[in-house]
Every structure is written in C-alpha cells, then in structure tokens.
C-alpha cells in the first residue's frame, strides 16, 4: 500500500470501501430474508405430501448451491481487488501440493455426499403413497403393478373389497395437444367417464395417476401437486398426489410435442368428495346423453 495518499484519494477509497461493505451487507440480509419474504425464488406452494418433499430438496440444494457460489465468487473478487498489478513486483511462484488438493476435494466430496443423502431421502419419501385421509373418498380401488410409486395399499388376497385408504386410480392420457382423464368406475351405457384438460378429484384422497400417451412423448407437471413425470409410448408411468385443500391448481405439459404444444395445459380442480361424486354422475349423464344424440343422428342419416 502506498504510504502517503492525498486527502481526496483517501476519501474516495473510504467511500468505496463503505459502499462495497454496505452492498455486501445488504446482499447477505437479502439472502437471509429471502425464504421468508420473497415469493419469486419459492416454487408454487405445495398442496400434496410429495410436493412438500420436493420443496425440502429444493430449499436444501438452493442454500448449498448458493453458499458455494457466494463463497467462490467472493474469494474471486477479493483476489482480483487485492492483487492488482504493481510496478516492479514479481509475485512469489507458489504452487500447491497434493495435501491441499485432497483437503479441498474431500470437503467438496462431503458436500456431494450430503446432497446425495438428501436426494435419496426426499425421493423415497416423495415416492411413498400416503393413504387417503378421513375427509377423502373411500370407495376407491387399486390393483396393479407398481413402477414408480411405493407402498400402495393392496387388497387382501382373494378378496374383492378395496384396501383401507386405497387410492383413486385415474388414467392421464397425453395426446397432441391435450390431456384426457379417464375416471374409474364401471358404466352400462358408456365405456368410461372422461374429461379433457381439467381433472376433477376429491380432497384428502390419494390419487394414483397412470400417465400414458397415445402418440409422442409428453410430460405431466402440476407444480403444486408433485414433480414432472414422462408419458412414454408403450409404457405406463405412475405418479400420485393427495391434495390437502379445495382449489384449482394449474399445470402444463413440459415436453415439446409439436407446434401446438403450449396449448397442453392442465388444471386440477380439487373438490369435496360429495361434489366429486356429483360431478362424475353429471358427467356420466352428459356423456350418455351425447352418445344417445349421436346414435339418434346416425339413425336419421340411415333413413
């Protein structure tokens, strides 16, 4: 450092130091306050247990990644400020050996292991299907092979009764460029009850989705109700959710599937179980009526 500085230079330097310290402090405060205040860096609020597991993983990794980036960039800028070129100075030719390399690698490795453990725990927790709650629909059935979802309540061997807390099984079928939802239950007049783009489900009920496609790759994603799941031709992928609150949750397909792809939006409308049963009944009647009208038209056309 130069021994004698002119007053103005000293003032600039003090000012600059104060400014940079202030900015740093402000940044740290902002970073600490962020989870509490800032909406933008938080994903949509979770409304399903598996979405909550994803939020846990998100916040842990965000804090770790941000801390690593801040430490590194801080050190970089301190180095760049402190060690500017000085005339006639020839820096010491310091190099590091194996020791320090191993120590840094070990520290980073520990962080990686910790993140892996967090990843596995949250993954396992998100996969585990939580049985339907007391406020949910109970007359659901489930008997199927499990690909991605664990701990689905199975009925007793040889019994036709559904298991306690068994999920409602709904098929979500992607096609260019909409989603078709097929609800369970056998009907006399029509093959099944279905709806497009808006899925209606009862609250506090475990819903097991069979995600399928009839054409190209698609991807199911409703941020409030869990993560993304691929719809792959020829296979059925499974995911689940259990909505904790009545409401309407938006989502969209996140896999490019052709030029009309932005239209593949999803809404999940969560309603009370009674309203769900009414909806299914209403829907079945509407579909039967529509089918009758078509048959009527056909008969007229024949004549």
């Amino acid at each position: 450092m130069a021994p004698a500085l002119s007053p103005s230079k000293t003032r600039t330097r003090v000012l600059r130091r104060a400014l940079s310290t202030g900015a740093l402090a402000l940044g740290i405060c902002a970073a600490l306050a962020a989870p509490a205040v800032a909406n933008p860096i938080a994903p949509d609020p979770a409304h399903s247990p598996n979405a909550e597991d994803i939020r846990v993983a998100y916040w842990v990794t965000l804090i770790v990644a941000a801390a690593l980036a801040v430490v590194f960039l801080g050190a970089l800028f301190v180095a760049l400020r402190r060690f500017r070129e000085r005339r006639g100075a020839s820096p010491r030719r310091v190099t590091g050996g194996t020791g320090i390399t191993l120590r840094v690698a070990g520290a980073l490795g520990l962080v990686a292991v910790a993140l892996f453990v967090v990843g596995v725990l949250t993954t396992e927790s998100a996969r585990k299907l939580e049985p339907s709650g007391p406020d949910g629909l109970t007359a659901a059935t489930a008997r199927h092979a499990q690909v991605g979802v664990k701990d689905v309540p199975q009925p007793e061997p040889g019994s036709d009764e559904p298991a306690e807390g068994a999920p409602l099984v709904i098929n979500a079928v992607g096609q260019q460029w909409m989603w078709r939802f097929e609800y369970p239950g056998e009907r006399e007049d029509i093959a099944e009850v279905f709806s497009y783009n808006e899925l209606v489900v009862p609250v506090d009920t475990a819903v097991l989705l069979n995600v399928r496609t009839v054409d190209v790759l698609h991807r199911w994603f409703v941020p409030a109700l869990g993560g993304q799941v691929d719809a792959v031709p020829g296979t059925t992928t499974q995911t689940w959710f259990k909505a904790d609150e009545v409401g309407r949750y938006p989502g969209a397909s996140t896999m490019y599937s052709g030029t009309g792809f932005p239209a593949m939006r999803i809404w999940v409308r969560v309603v009370e179980p009674e309203e769900y049963e009414q909806y299914i009944e209403q829907r079945a009647n509407d579909l039967t009526e529509a089918q009758g009208a078509v048959e009527e038209q056909n008969r007229e056309a024949e004549e």
Binding site: I54, A69, F72, V94, V113, L115, A126, F221
Partner: protein, 581 residues
C-alpha cells in the same frame, strides 16, 4: 557497440527444407484446400464465429415473440423453425467447432509439433462440418425442422413431422457429427505421436490436457449419436421400428443415445472453456497455475463423469430406481472436479500481480456466469429438484448460462488471448471489455427472470405464454436482457473481425505466456518452428526466456563481442517480445 543486449532476429538455419516453392493458386482455393492445421483451424474459427452471429440474431428473434403474453407476431411453425436453427447453431455449429478450431490451431504449437498427424482427415472433418451446416440450413429453403434441440422419436416420425425439415436436420447434424469424429481421431493421434522431445504428459500445458479430454469425449459420444440418427432415419423413411413402441421398439432408447451425445457436448464446452481460462489466469496473474496436476486430473474427471451423468436428463422417465440413484451419484460427484478447477483459479490469482487486460476480463466474466450456471446445474443433479425444475425455464436458464459463460465468453477470452498468435495483431480491448460487461449484465438479468418464470411453472420451448399465469413481467425483462446479450455478442464478434485484419501489430509473445506456442512466430510459418526446443519443464517458454536473459548477463555490455556467436535462433526471437515483464 551494444549488439548483444538488444537481441536481433537472426535468419534461422531451417531444419526443414522445402524442395521447391509451391505454385500459388487462387487465394480461396488455396485456403480451402490447404492441409496445414492452421489453415483448417482458421476455417473452423471463421465458420463458428459466423454461426454465433446467426445464433445471436435468432435468439433475439425468438425472444421478441416471447416479449408479451399471447403474442401472435410469429406463427408457431415459423417460431419453431427459428428456435431449431438457434439451438443447432449455438451448440452444433458454434460451440463445439469453436473449441475444435482453437485446439486445432494452438495445441500442435503448444506441444511443439510441426503439424498434425493426419492433416487430410483434419481437413475432411472441417468440410463435413461445413457441408453439414449447409445441409441443415438448406432445409430453410422449403420447410425446416420444427424440433427445438433435436428431433426425438416418435415425434420425428413421418406421421408427426410431415415436412422434410427433419431429414435435413438429421443429415446436417449427422455430417457435422461425423466431422467431429474425424477431428477427434486426428487430434488423438497427434497428441500421442507429435509431442516435442521432453514434452511428457506431466509437462503438457493445461489446454493440451483439455484438448485430449475433448478429443476422447467426442470420439466416444459422436458414433453413438450417429448410430441413433441412422436408426431414426431408418425408422422414419424405411419402415424401421427401433424406437416404435407399437412394434416393440423403445422410444426411450433414442433419448438415451441423444442425451449421451448432448451430455458430451456439454462436457466439451465446459472443458474447453476451463482449459483456456486455466491458461489465461496464470499468464495474467504472473504466477504458475496453483496445482497443474489437480486441474489436469479434474478436466479428465469432468470428461468421464460429465458423459456418464447423461441420464440426469431422464430423471422423469420410467427407469429402474437403482439406475436413477447411480446417475445421481455420478452427477453429484461432478462437484469435486469442477470445484477443484474453480479453487485453483482463485488460488492462482491470490498473491499474484494481476494485469487487468481484456483476455482476463473476458475470462472473469465467463467464470461468473459459469459459477452461477453450474450452481444451478448442481441443484438439478438432485432428483426431486429436477422433477420440479427440469424442462422449465429455470433449468434452461442454467444451461444457457453455462453456454454463454463457457462457450461464448470463454471462447472470446481464448480468441483474445490467441488471436495475436494467429494474426500477429492485437485485438481492441476497450470494445471487448464493454461487450463482456453487456453480456454478463444481460445474462444475469435473463437468468434471474427465467428462473422466476420457471418456478412459476413456465415450460421450455413454448412459442407463447398465457396472460394471467404470472410470468408476463419476467418474460418482458428477459427479452430485453436477451437483446442486450445479442448486442454484446455481435459487438465482440465485430471487434474480433475488425482486429483480424486491422489490429495494431504486436510481437510474437505479447502476454509473456509460458507455453511453447509463444515461441513460434506470429503468425507461425507453415512448419511452425525452425528449431523444436528440448522441453525440460511445464513452462518451456519461461525456460527459454531465462536462458536468453542468462546469456545477456553473461555477455555484459563492456565486454567485446566474440565474432562467431552460436546460433540459437528461437531463443533470440523469443527475447524480442515486448512484454518480458
């Protein structure tokens, strides 16, 4: 009197003698048919720069469509053709060929070679790439591919992609990737057979290590993608069913093959930028790299782990859980080598004497973007986080930051550093620093806005977003930031192009580098070196400089000069660089 203290360029005694002076043909035919690695590399660099400009323009255009919700300015089909052109230009026709070109020019000089091992294969590689790019863009004469990153099965089948654009994509990308394969073979053979005496691997410069890692990555991933494209072509045109689920094929298989390649491309961009920055940082800190072994090992580790972690793009696919967890292990393990490289850069700068020149400024700008982008990619290496962020604009912003920081800014830093060697001219520094500032500012604002939009659930690759989904403000600001990025990129490209022919002339060693490329003339003659020196350390150029200085001291000025001085032509030339600081 003072003849010794001011070393002059003495006419060297050439070790290679050309039998006859070759006949000069028409200039462009000479340039196009010249097998010299430097001529081919210049073609690579020029073409890659052109496609960077194309990518920047298309990036601005696609963001113009996404500036307001429900915009109908560009039709969906046109939008996806532009998006496809942008992504192919940025990745296949700019980022990878840029590092191919830099390596082709610099690495043979760094290892003290007189040329590459398979010059004709090297030349073929460029022409395959050039013809591939031409084939790709020929699709725009009728109807181009409408698939953003790559056509995936079964979307690329005839029933879903009606126009012939997909064929142009596959043929163009296939030729280009075949070019990468030829390039990699030549570079691997060159690196193993053409190193100067004493240039053991432990003494090889870091950029040479990066070149080795990149060559092997391209050598491994290119054939896989070529196989995938061939199978896709058979499926699409000749009733094959490799990926057709209805006939017992597997659509996931193509995803595996494609992501294997694109993970390799990602690793190439990262390693190329890291290799170049690891040369620039020590030069401008006036210190050796903190730990050469750690950086070289880390680059190799990034190559291996980066390719093996390709399945992190398939976290949402129905794969076995054991495979998913194994992928997570590999993806998270990347933190160690990446972190080691970053640590070594800071440790090298620490206690140095840092000259704030343009190459370092561009490198630091690139490091900032790389660190933030890689931190974001670290997050999506954890599976549940990927379920949330993958294929939203949040995860895409990380990738864009890595490409901007590594491919664009890292590439610019490397070009600034080495263009004086290629042309013998300096590159304008003021414009470069301004461009670096524009790109970093634009990229950070873009990153923040796109991350916020992604957390709201905005998917990637949409031609429109909807009013009332809470992302309108983010997209507006991101579009403006994208225009700033595009302007910065075009500004710096213009700066490089102008300086190529009009820059101020500089000496052969303008930065005081410690590797062998600074020993050659600028621009180097066709045979690179008149005399190839014996390499005795990892910093051969520094040894040469010290030898020159020691000789100057030995022949102190008052002493009369002996009449017959031993000829050490290279050393004399080395001493006349202006900045032996």
């Amino acid at each position: 009197m003072n003849r010794v203290t001011t070393p002059t360029i003495t006419e060297p005694r050439p070790e290679l003698v050309t039998r006859e002076v070759p006949r000069k043909g028409i200039a462009w035919i000479e340039a196009a048919s010249n097998g010299d690695h430097k001529a081919v590399a210049k073609l690579y660099l020029g073409t890659a720069g052109t496609f960077l400009a194309v990518a920047a323009l298309l990036f601005g255009l696609t963001r113009l469509q996404l500036i307001v919700p429900d915009n109908t300015m560009i039709q969906p089909e046109i939008f996806y053709r532009l998006l496809s052109g942008m992504q192919a230009s940025a990745i296949l026709f700019f980022a990878v060929p840029l590092f191919c070109g830099l390596i082709s020019y610099i690495v043979p000089l760094q290892i003290g070679a007189r040329g590459v091992a398979l010059p004709r294969l090297h030349q073929v590689s460029y022409w395959l790439y050039a013809v591939g790019a031409l084939t790709f863009f020929a699709g725009y004469l009728y109807a181009a591919s409408e698939n953003p990153l790559a056509p995936f099965a079964p979307l690329a089948y005839e029933e879903y992609s009606v126009t012939n654009g997909v064929d142009a994509w596959m043929a163009g990308a296939g030729l280009t990737v075949l070019g990468f394969l030829c390039w990699a073979i030549n570079m691997i053979v060159t690196l193993h057979t053409r190193r100067a005496p004493g240039m053991a691997w432990r003494r090889a410069p870091i950029f040479t290590w990066a070149a080795a890692a990149i060559s092997y990555v391209l050598f491994v991933v290119s054939p896989v993608f070529l196989a995938g494209l061939t199978m896709l072509m058979v499926d699409r045109r000749f009733d094959g069913h490799f990926f057709d689920a209805l006939e017992g094929g597997s659509p996931l298989l193509f995803e595996h093959l494609a992501w294997f390649f694109f993970a390799g491309v990602h690793a190439v961009i990262l390693i190329g930028a890291m290799g170049a920055i690891s040369e620039i940082v020590p030069t401008f800190a006036r210190k050796p790299l903190f730990s050469r072994g750690a950086v070289a090992g880390s680059l190799v580790a990034i190559a291996v782990l980066g390719v093996l972690a390709y399945m992190q793009n398939l976290y949402t696919a129905p794969l076995a859980w054991g495979v998913q967890y194994a992928t997570m292990v590999v993806a998270l393990a990347l933190l160690v080598p990446v972190g080691l490289v970053l640590f070594n850069w800071v440790a090298t700068l620490w206690d140095g004497s840092i000259a704030a020149r343009a190459p370092l400024a561009l490198a630091v700008a690139g490091i900032v973007l790389l660190v933030i982008g890689l931190a974001g990619e670290l997050m999506t290496a954890v599976m549940p986080v990927a379920w949330q962020l993958e294929n939203t604009t949040a995860a895409q912003a990380d990738t864009i930051l890595v490409v901007l920081g590594g491919g664009v800014l890292g590439g610019f830093a490397a070009l600034h550093y080495w263009l004086p060697k290629i042309t013998g001219r300096a590159v304008g520094e003021g414009l470069a620093k301004a461009a670096a500032g524009l790109i970093v500012a634009g990229a950070l604002v873009f990153f923040v806005c796109m991350t916020f939009a992604g957390l709201e659930g905005q998917p990637v690759d949409v031609y429109r977003f909807y009013e009332g989904t809470g992302v309108s403000a983010y997209n507006l600001i991101a579009s403006i930031a994208a225009f700033v990025i595009a302007i910065g990129v075009l500004l710096e490209l213009g700066n490089l192009a102008y300086s190529y022919g009009n820059g101020r002339r500089v000496g052969h060693d303008p930065w005081g580098g410690s590797t062998l490329e600074w020993f050659a003339l600028s621009p180097p003659p066709p045979h690179n070196f008149d005399a190839v020196p014996d390499v005795r350390s990892a910093e051969p150029m520094r040894d040469i400089r010290e030898a020159v200085r020691a000789r100057e001291r030995a022949y102190a000025p008052p002493k009369p000069l002996p009449r017959s001085e031993p000829a050490a032509s290279g050393a004399d030339r080395a001493g006349d660089g202006p900045s032996v600081a």
